[in-house]
Symmetry: C2
Subunit: 577 residues, 2 copies
């Protein structure tokens, strides 16, 4: 491509509303433009990278036996009513009416549509397993779209759905997809980690997320220092502290704590390590047959935070997790939220493993402005139910017993699920098994955030000059910058010749033939992040050389003119060369 005939829409200024580096650089490098909140146009430069990501995803999906389909973006409400999600799915589902007043949505995901398709198409176990995928524009009406294409409302996703006679077959395909995802992210040149994830809301028995490691990531992911254990924070297990609970050493006493309503305030007021306190959170319990729901108390060590997903997954707790209001607490317990404690509490109590290991701890007295000190489980308050309900913290032991946990930030770019029969059961998607009996299919689903990957890659690959693309997804692999080509026909001609030579060898080349100052051209090519750069100048041509600089190189080097192609083939091997 000749830059003089191409939209090079670089910008010097960092856009004010772009918070993270990938968003800033995608705008500055002229890859995207905002149309409205969470809606972006992909400019030519950005679309080239997006299409390369798509191609890698497609090739690996095909290689693993996936069959590409394309389902409508607009989906009828009837199918979502069958699965129950028309009412369950919240504000992120963009709903609409057609001209006849019928309900539709802009699909954020396609479980219902594919299940409907497959229940009509596949009749026999002989046609299983089967795995269908699409690469498609989806819509999720995010309350707070932000970070550019990282959390856009309209985005490109690869979604795949597999169908099986039984759980073993699902498990096989799940493993294949796990490996396929690793191949995809390897080829994309990403530093990523597959981590165990909670599969709660979507259902099913297992789930892994694939995270690109980046400080701007919105998710906490957890690793063991000494094993391959990795999980997202929602899923990472907080194991019980080692050893026996210490024996009681103090007598329980009520102390006045006027105006002290937070854990921090209490521990300062009583001059006590926060780890000796517990906090008591009241949440809604599961509703009974008549729809009445009482409250449930969750007890955590003062320095720990509630893991809402873990809590929500417990029996007896309403889903989604709902905190009791101040009024409900006052009515049930008779005090303000800051003064609740487990002793003599008239609601069921669930104690976190770490809190359950405390002795001589401090808690609210269920009376405003009073706390209890020297409290001990069993002696002062029964320890009926102990569960893992907290987020792990750095230094916690790894659940597999090897090493301790580290926490890093990740950007979720892939997610694979064993759905089991959640959708197939609800929508009656069955086949005949070997014995001619009707069997509900098992399903898996497998997503990749295609457009998000573009941003995630930039989060990992940039410097103060701009983006640094891996060769595989660079909009152009090579930039040829001609210096004063509009004045020097020799330079212009040599530039064209090199351009044709490298292009015909199969490289994506951008010939920067613009009538711009060298500094402007260099800055643009670096901002755009093209991995390989040749400079054609009169000075060089006189000496029979080109200047080469890799985007990550500290120094330039001179290459004999006729060595350009062999040099490139060595730097970035090409099939058949």
């Amino acid at each position: 491509m000749r830059a003089s005939r191409y939209l090079i829409a670089t910008q010097k200024e960092t856009p004010a509303d772009a918070e993270i580096i990938s968003h800033q650089l995608m705008l500055r490098a002229g890859m995207i433009r905002k149309l409205a909140a969470g809606l972006y146009t992909w400019l030519p430069m950005g679309l080239r990278t997006l299409r390369k990501v798509e191609r890698i995803v497609r090739e690996e999906m095909d290689k693993s036996g996936g069959q590409e389909v394309l389902m409508p973006a607009v989906q009828p409400a009837e199918l979502w009513e069958e699965s129950g999600r028309w009412t369950q799915y919240g504000g992120e589902l963009l709903r609409m009416n057609d001209r006849h007043g019928r309900d539709f949505c802009f699909g954020p995901t396609h479980e219902e549509v594919i299940t409907d398709l497959i229940r009509n198409e596949l009749k026999s176990y002989k046609e299983l397993p089967a795995n269908f995928y699409q690469i498609q524009t989806k819509f999720r009406d995010e309350r707070r779209p932000r970070f550019g294409v990282m959390r856009a409302r309209e985005f490109v996703m690869k979604d795949a759905y597999s169908f099986h006679l039984n759980a073993e077959s699902l498990n096989d395909t799940y493993q294949v997809m796990h490996r396929t995802y690793c191949s995809i992210f390897d080829r994309l040149g990403l530093d990523y980690r597959p981590v165990q994830a909670d599969s709660g809301a979507i259902g099913g028995s297992a789930s892994h997320e694939f995270h690109v490691l980046a400080s701007s990531g919105e998710d906490d992911i957890v690793f063991s220092t000494e094993s391959s254990y990795a999980a997202n924070i929602e899923k990472a297990e907080a194991v019980a502290p080692a050893g026996e609970r210490p024996a009681p050493g103090e007598a329980m006493a009520e102390v006045a704590t006027p105006g002290q309503r937070t854990i921090a305030a209490i521990s300062e007021f009583l001059e006590l390590d926060v780890k000796r306190t517990v906090k008591t959170l009241l949440v809604k319990g599961e509703a009974d047959e008549d729809g009445n729901a009482g409250l449930v108390a969750l007890i955590l060590r003062g320095d720990h935070s509630l893991n809402e997903i873990k809590a929500e997954n417990l029996a007896g707790i309403a889903e989604p997790l709902t905190m009791a209001t101040d009024e409900e607490i006052l009515a049930a317990v008779g005090c303000q939220p800051g003064s609740i404690g487990p002793v003599n509490l008239n609601v069921p109590v669930i104690v976190d493993r770490s809190a359950a290991h405390l002795a001589d701890f401090v808690c609210g007295a269920n009376k405003d402005d009073y706390h209890l000190t020297g409290v001990n489980w069993e002696r002062d308050v029964p320890l009926a139910r102990v569960e893992d309900i907290r987020n792990v913290v750095e230094g916690d032991p790894s659940p597999d017993g090897k090493g301790t946990l580290e926490i890093r930030r990740g950007i979720e770019v892939g997610h694979i699920f064993k759905l089991g029969n959640k959708y197939s059961q609800a929508m009656n998607a069955t086949v005949l098994d070997e014995n001619g009996k009707t069997a509900v299919m098992e399903m898996g689903c497998y997503g990749i955030g295609v457009s998000r990957i573009v941003a995630a890659s930039i989060e990992q690959n940039h410097d103060d000059k701009g983006i640094i693309w891996p060769d595989a997804i660079a909009p152009f692999e090579i930039a040829i910058v001609t210096l004063n080509g509009h004045k020097s026909p020799t330079v212009a001609e040599a530039g064209e010749k090199l351009y044709e030579q490298l292009r015909q060898a199969g490289y994506d080349v951008l010939l920067d033939d613009r009538n711009e100052r060298p500094g402007v051209k260099f800055a643009d090519m670096e901002l755009i992040g093209i991995p390989h750069r040749f400079v054609v100048s009169d000075r060089g041509l006189t000496a029979g050389t080109l200047e080469y600089k890799g985007r990550r190189d500290a120094d330039k080097q001179d290459i004999p003119l006729e060595q350009a192609l062999p040099f490139m083939v060595k730097a970035s091997p090409r099939k058949g060369l």
Copy 2:
């Protein structure tokens, strides 16, 4: 691809609700499935063809200097309000509200979005001309979606938009796009015609449609028998009859025509050639400053039909064309619609060129149940305004003076427009010209119905066994059918070997290794329309041959086993072989 691991979703029965052959065959060949009215899932087999069409369109657009972008499907209402189309666009615009209650639409076209983008990105005439395109899923909420993907609500379109400093530059790009479209449709193997089209509603000065000729087409297109003149029926000019209008021969007389209200009835009742009658249609006139609109009479020869587009484009007539109601006619003229005529009519009269050439004609007397005979222009009624307001009919003289007109049915697969400054003016899209002065850009827009092309191709390429794909867009180019491969390892092995050989040579090959009867496999491959078929059998292998049959061939032929590849290269040449 191995058929045993691929969704071959063929059906024997012709679906009841599929009216046209392409819709029937796309369903029967397992290319698409209906999700809801006008919403189709592309199954793997269909998607392969769709992607090949996309690729050809993309390659030719790139070759002609188009720059690919990807704009959001969901568009904010504000932009459509700027252009005025938010209110003008009818029920086909799928409107929706996001979670914050803001108005959006699912884009049926992207003039507003691209104009908004370009007015922000391009500042100088030096950056012009520029041509941006996308291949994207669009939505048009058709009142009556039908014919499968031919007239679906959700569909894939290539839309391109060019920007220019002046009309000359627009004209150049328009010509380039005209040639590009011809290259695209040539490569797609379509029998098509570019025809002049009306550019009324979208505006602009010129427009051509590209029609695939097919009897199932919904449009009438008009050709000269002796020149390259071609236009759609909306645009095709009906020239005035040759020679002078005959002199009056009869006296005007009023005759009673009790109950005779149609042209057919009148001409039968009066035993008169229908070509001696005129019909008078009353339509709404253009509203004056106060919003009041009178009626206008349109006079046509009895055997001719009104061309609504031509009428609507005339000064003095309301847009869109609106027929007067019976009540309005009664109030204005004092009679029923079937008895109106131009003589002493108290509304302005516009006479079609052919009607204006009549002498001694019959018309309504503006009095129920009475007509006038022997009426003559000028003598009995002034001939104030003569215009071309009728549809041409077969046998009319060609407007270029060469030959007569033929009418055939066409499927519109492409449309190019000179938009002029309709959008750039309304949305203030300007650049600085050579003199540093602000200039409103000229625009062109260029559409191709990508998914419709798949259906249109089938309308032209099928027989009673199924689809007959051109090589360029066949889902697979070659089918290898193994006979009893599950019983004969020799056959299975030879099939695999041939499959690998042809695949590695760059052909898209479907190896039909299914455990099905030969008849089933042959029927499926023919229904799917794969252009080249090899059969591997024990009998053939013993003789060292394969059987070959082209999809259009009457007879099979035996090919020596080792000649398969050279044979294919000859039948369907491959780059580099």
